[in-house]
Amino acid sequence: MTATRFIGILRKYEKWFGIVALILISAGLYTGLVTSSADYFQGEVVRIMYVHVPFAQTAMLAYSTLFFCSIWYLWKRDAIVDNACHAAAGLALFFTAGGLITGAIWGKPTWNAWWVWDPRLTSFAIMFLTLVGYLMLRTFLDDVEKRATFAAILAIIGFIDLPIIHFSVEWWRSLHQPLSVSTRGVSIAPDMLVPFALMSFGVGILFTYMLMVRTQLLYLEHLLEAKQGRFLSEAEL
C-alpha cells in the first residue's frame, strides 16, 4: 500500500472515530459521575474505576497495536507502518502513565497505599519502562531503516510482559483485585457496568482516533524533513 493512499484512508475515516469516542465518553462520564450508585464497600471512590480501568486497558491495547505493527513492519518494510509503530508507542506510554497515576489515586483511599510492589503493579511499571526504552532507542538511531528494525524487534521482545500483566492477578498473590470481567463472569452490578463499558469502549475508540492522527503527524514530519533536506541540497547544487 502506498503511503499517500494510507494517509488518504486515515483522513477520510478519522472523524467518525473521533465522533463516536466523544459520544461514548460523554455518556460514560455522565453515567459514571452522576447516575451510577456508590459501591457498597468502597463508597464514592469507586467512580475512579471508570477512568482507571479504561486507561489501563487502552495502554495494553496500544502496546498490542505496537506489537502487531512491528511484526507488520518486519514483514512488509513499509515506512508508513513504522510511523504507525512510533505513534502507537507514544500513545501507549501516555495511557500507561495515565493508568499508573489514576491507579495511585485510587490506591490511597482504598488500599491505604499509593504504590505497592505487587505483581500487577510491578509488571505494569515494566511496560512503562519498556516504552520509555523504546522511544529513547528511536531518538538515538539516525539511519531510518535501522531505527525501524531495531525498534520493531525491541517492541516484539517487550510484548512478553503483556500476558504477564493480564494474568498476574490470577497467577500470583497480589493486593490488586482479580479480574472483574473474566471467564468466571461479570462481577459488576448492571448499574455500574454501563459507565464501565461506555468508558472502556470510548477510550479504546479514542485511542484509535489518536493513533490515526498521530500516524499522520509522524508521517508528515518525516516527509517534511526528508523533502526539505532534498530542497536544501538541490539549492546548494
Partner: protein
C-alpha cells in the same frame, strides 16, 4: 486551522459549563462541614458532618436505643446520635464517616438520619483531572500540529509532488 480552533472552543465551552454545574451542585448538596465549625458557629438545616469516630466513645444502639458516639475533626468534638440501623455493621471507632442530619443548638448534639463512608471527592476529582485534562491537551497539540503540517506542506507543494509521483 480555523475549523480546528472552532471545534476545540466548542468542546471546552461545553465541558467547562458542565464542570461549573457540577461544582455548583457539589456546593449545594454534598459539601461537608467539620465538627469544629458546627460547635463554634452552629448551623441550620440539613447538613453533612465529616469527622472521625473517637476511640472509646462508640456505643452501639440496642433495643430501640440510638447509637451514640463522638465525631472529631479539626480539633473539636461533637456528640452524634444516630437512630437508624447500621445494616452491615460498618461502623467502628477510628473511622472517618459522613453524618447527614441536623444540629441541635440547645442540646449541643447532632441528630443523624443517615451515615455514610467518607466520600473522598478529592480523590475522585483528581483522578479525572489528572487523566482527562492531559489527554485533552495531548490531543489538541497533536491535531494542531497535523493541521499546521498540512498547511506548510501545501504551501511548499511537497505533498502534491508526492501524490503525482
Amino acid at each position: 486551522m480555523k475549523r480546528l480552533y472552532i471545534r476545540w472552543t466548542v468542546l471546552v465551552l461545553i465541558f467547562g459549563s458542565i464542570t461549573c454545574l457540577g461544582i455548583l451542585r457539589y456546593d449545594r448538596e454534598v459539601k461537608t462541614v467539620s465538627p469544629a465549625k458546627v460547635s463554634s458557629e452552629g448551623a441550620k438545616g440539613e447538613l453533612r458532618l465529616l469527622g472521625m469516630i473517637e476511640a472509646g466513645s462508640f456505643v452501639r444502639g440496642v433495643e430501640g436505643k440510638p447509637t451514640r458516639f463522638m465525631l472529631s475533626g479539626e480539633g473539636a468534638k461533637v456528640a452524634v446520635v444516630f437512630s437508624g440501623k447500621d445494616e452491615d455493621e460498618s461502623l467502628r471507632e477510628l473511622k472517618t464517616i459522613v453524618a447527614l442530619g441536623k444540629w441541635e443548638t440547645e442540646r449541643k448534639q447532632f441528630d443523624a438520619s443517615e451515615l455514610a463512608l467518607d466520600p473522598n471527592y478529592g480523590f475522585v476529582t483528581s483522578a479525572y483531572v489528572f487523566s482527562l485534562i492531559p489527554l485533552a491537551f495531548f490531543l489538541f497539540y497533536m491535531e494542531r500540529r497535523v493541521s499546521l503540517l498540512y498547511v506548510m506542506i501545501k504551501e511548499e507543494k511537497v505533498y502534491q509532488s508526492e501524490t503525482q509521483a
